[in-house]
Amino acid sequence: MATEQQTGTGGGDDEQPLGLTVASGAVAAAVVVPLLWLVKTALEVGFAEALALVTRPTTVEVFLNSAVLVTLVTTACIGLGVPLAYLTVRTDLPFRRFWTVVVSLPLVIPSYIGAFAFVSAFGPRGAFQRLLAPFGVESLPEIYGLPGAVLVLTLYTYPYVFITTRAALKSMDTTLIDAARTLNHTRWESFKRVTVPQIRPAVAAGSLLTALYVLSDFGTPAIMKFDAFTRVIYVEFGTFGRDTATLLSLQLIAVTLLILTLESQIRGDERTTTGGRSGSPMPLGKWKYPALGFAALVATVALLVPLGILFTWLAQGVAATSGSLAFQPEYALNSVLVAAATAGAATLAGLPVAYLAARHPSRLSSVFERATYVGYAVPGVVLGLALVYFGSSYATPIYQTLYLLVFAYVIRFLPQAIGSLRASFLRVDPALPEAARTLGETPSGAFRHVTLPLVAPGLFGGAALVFLTTMKELPATLLLRPSGFSTLVTHIWTAYEQGYFGQAVVPAFILLFVSGLSMLVIITQEGYDVK
């Protein structure tokens, strides 16, 4: 018989690289550990006490408030995002490229800046009411509360649905629709029976992003004075209601997990195909002007209102303010510093996790990958809270330092880096590094010379995305910044709390500019196709 030096029988020999697995596991553990402290803190609350806190009427009300908010916003986002995606991909809407860009732009505006602007525009004695006062308009419909929160969150999160749906529509094999048409289906029927099942996973993915964003958003409910989980947790924490804050945080995490489960149900089997030629676009006919009007209305409300308000403040002159509130260039520098550090750290931490998940799929690698998503699903307020507990009792050397802040950001936004990296790794034909090996490269040489250059766009795209979102992050920044450390975001928040809205104008403009710049990077690097 042949030489018997068997390398383990039974299991496939797709050997899991040890170093990578360890690195990947370490990253996953680092993400999960702080949250375990939250659970531990919650367990220290007595059972009877906890039950009383969780079941008292205000807690139930907070839960219902959040549920209604998430449902309404997600529904509205699908209502805006899917039609806009269809219009810009499949129809002969004039200036489709222009609309694609314009309709994606609200993503650049942090929702709390939007909320801020809407409150100043439409609030009592706001800019809009003053404008209408000569016409005898005494008051506008109440903007505070649920309506305002739904409006603002919809306007600044529907691009998630729009972008994912657009990508699915673009990559979908249009000959499938031709096939349906030849099988005696009308356009509407073939849309329902062919297009919808094909884009459903993408719509679900976009809706998931929206729902998670809404659930975790702190700024908008706070500014709109709407008692969602995040606002109540922050308020309770500030007023030493530590136990309530902790228990509400755990509840919020439970709701988040529920949404994640729901999404995987809706997503269904991902049996989608890609490729195929793009057929001729659907003629809009008499619907052309209503369609244009729809796109224009969305863009106007989402973009022109906040910009209009900001320019009004700018015109009114913001220089005339008290010294302590004046904007310092240092704030911008601080923001860029922490965002860049986060982008770099998240990319480094994401590399082993993404590579392992893409190239050595196994139960373990997918557990690690999933674990890193925990930070993304956990709202910033909760994460901030968890790290405050963790930092103050177990990691005192880094508590109240920038390290802990960056660590929080990395936990929070790591999935953006990993998602982008993993997709890039998957796009690299496994035969390419193999070809490099047969041409004399070591495994690490093949990685450096072949794989890395090919994933570079995805790597930078992911880093830019992390940079962008870190710049805008509000709640964790508020909870974890070292005392005396101010960023663009915290400065805006101070201006809001003190009621000097005009003070927010410079940092708001800078944030918009930086966000727009990062978006541009993403568009060019990721090849986000606006044609």
């Binding site: 018989m1 042949a2 030489t3 018997e4 030096q5 068997q6 390398t7 029988t9 039974g10 299991g11 496939g12 020999d13 034909d429 035969a431 390419l432 193999e434 070809a435 490099a436 090996r437 047969t438 041409l439 004399g440 490269e441 070591t442 495994p443 040489g445 010379h449 072949v450 250059p453 090919l454």
Partner: protein, 390 residues
């Protein structure tokens, strides 16, 4: 302007090295597989495979999809690790017996199925990728020579996505030849090309390989491709080697029904050996026309392998019963295949020129008229299912 000493090794000279199967036992091959096995999970892909490849020859692993031929290639390249057995390159063990050499330490070249050209590098940079040990001038010269060899002198600065399928394949070939590998492996090298281009590239690839003088193992499921580019073919089925030999040898004297059916159309004519003849439905066939019919098979039932060009069908004479009736007709362009069901129930394919018509109703007589020895198989090996075709 090819080098004449290299280009003379073309197909007409192949017959010089007859009986190469006998050489398999020698340990002098560039590449040797000895009892190699491989399974993924519980599924065994290759079991106890042994093969030897001689210096300078082109050997093709031929078999249906899933037969383990691509796995064999990956084991040779070191891209996968065998579960057992030994792989030797130029006499050195590269896997087995506790050693496993990484692909980059083996000196094998691979032309991947979808070419695997590095999309971020130009054609010239792709070719230069494996030439790390040369200085810049030498490297440039080598790249120029290879571009020349594959007929892409002017395409060096093009990126892969700017090249046609045939050009990409030439670059892939040049890239794998550049480091002068001990052996070149080609994984379904033509499957990614259009049909017209495929035929043209077969000739071209064979020319390039012979001009480079490289030992090559190729893998395909296309029997025509295997026959046209190879010095020897190795027919694989279900993780086993069925037969290894020169294309003509394997085609004319298949050692198994599988091989007979996999290479070209095959029909099986039942017969019984009776003294100096074999009695069949189509009449007696002289015993010496059957290849290697040993005496111990006297008075047994056999199946004679009949190719469509060995038989022809004609309308029955008046009142004659003939041998069977036409049950199918396939146009192949210049020729037509008639499917004739014999009275005994077996089917034969008869090839005719397109201008000869055979009536598709009524009985036909079938004439066996082969200018060569016929292969045969003992009847008891006949499988339950029908004969293989295509």
């Amino acid at each position: 302007m090819s080098n004449s000493t290299l280009s003379t090794t073309d197909r007409s000279n192949r017959t010089e090295s007859t009986d190469s199967e006998a050489d398999d036992a020698d340990a002098g091959g560039v590449l040797e597989l000895d009892g190699v096995s491989k399974s993924y999970g519980t599924e065994s892909v290759i079991t106890d495979l042994s093969l030897s490849v001689e210096e300078g020859e082109i050997l093709t692993l031929l078999g249906p999809s899933g037969c383990g031929k691509t796995t064999t290639l990956r084991l040779i390249a070191g891209l996968d690790r065998p579960d057992g057995g030994e792989v030797r390159l130029n006499g050195n063990v590269v896997s087995g017996g506790g050693t496993f050499r990484a692909p980059e330490e083996r000196g094998v070249g691979v032309v991947f199925q979808e070419f695997a050209l590095f999309p971020h590098l130009t054609a010239a940079e792709n070719i230069a990728f494996g030439l790390k040990d040369l200085d810049e001038a030498e490297r440039d010269e080598r790249v120029r020579d290879l571009l020349d060899l594959v007929g892409l002198e002017t395409q060096g600065d093009s990126y892969p996505d700017e090249l046609s399928g045939g050009q990409q394949q030439r670059v892939a070939l040049a890239r794998s030849l550049a480091p002068e590998p001990a052996i070149l492996l080609l994984d379904e090298p033509f499957s990614n090309l259009d049909v017209d281009l495929r035929v043209q590239m077969r000739e071209e690839v064979r020319r390039i390989l012979k001009e480079a003088g490289v030992t090559a193992v190729s893998v395909t499921h296309d029997q025509e491709e295997a026959m046209s580019i190879s010095d020897r073919v190795a027919v694989m089925n279900d993780g086993d080697l069925e037969q290894v030999g020169e294309p003509e040898q394997v085609f004319q004297h298949p050692e198994s029904r599988f091989v007979a059916g996999f290479l070209g159309y095959a029909g099986f004519l039942p017969g019984r050996i009776a003294g100096g003849v074999v009695e069949t439905e189509l009449g007696s066939v002289a015993r010496d026309q059957i290849h290697g019919l040993a005496p111990e098979y006297d008075d047994t039932d056999i199946d004679i392998l009949v190719r469509p060009d060995d038989v022809s069908a004609h309308p029955c004479g008046d009142g004659g019963e003939g041998h069977g009736k036409v049950v199918g007709k396939r146009y192949l362009g210049p020729t037509i295949l008639y499917e004739v069901e014999l009275h005994g129930g077996d089917t034969l394919l008869c090839m005719h020129n397109h201008d000869e018509t055979v009536p598709t109703d009524g009985c036909v007589e079938v004439t066996l008229d082969a200018g060569h020895e016929l292969a045969w198989f003992p009847r008891e090996q006949r499988p339950e299912t029908g004969p293989y075709s295509d």
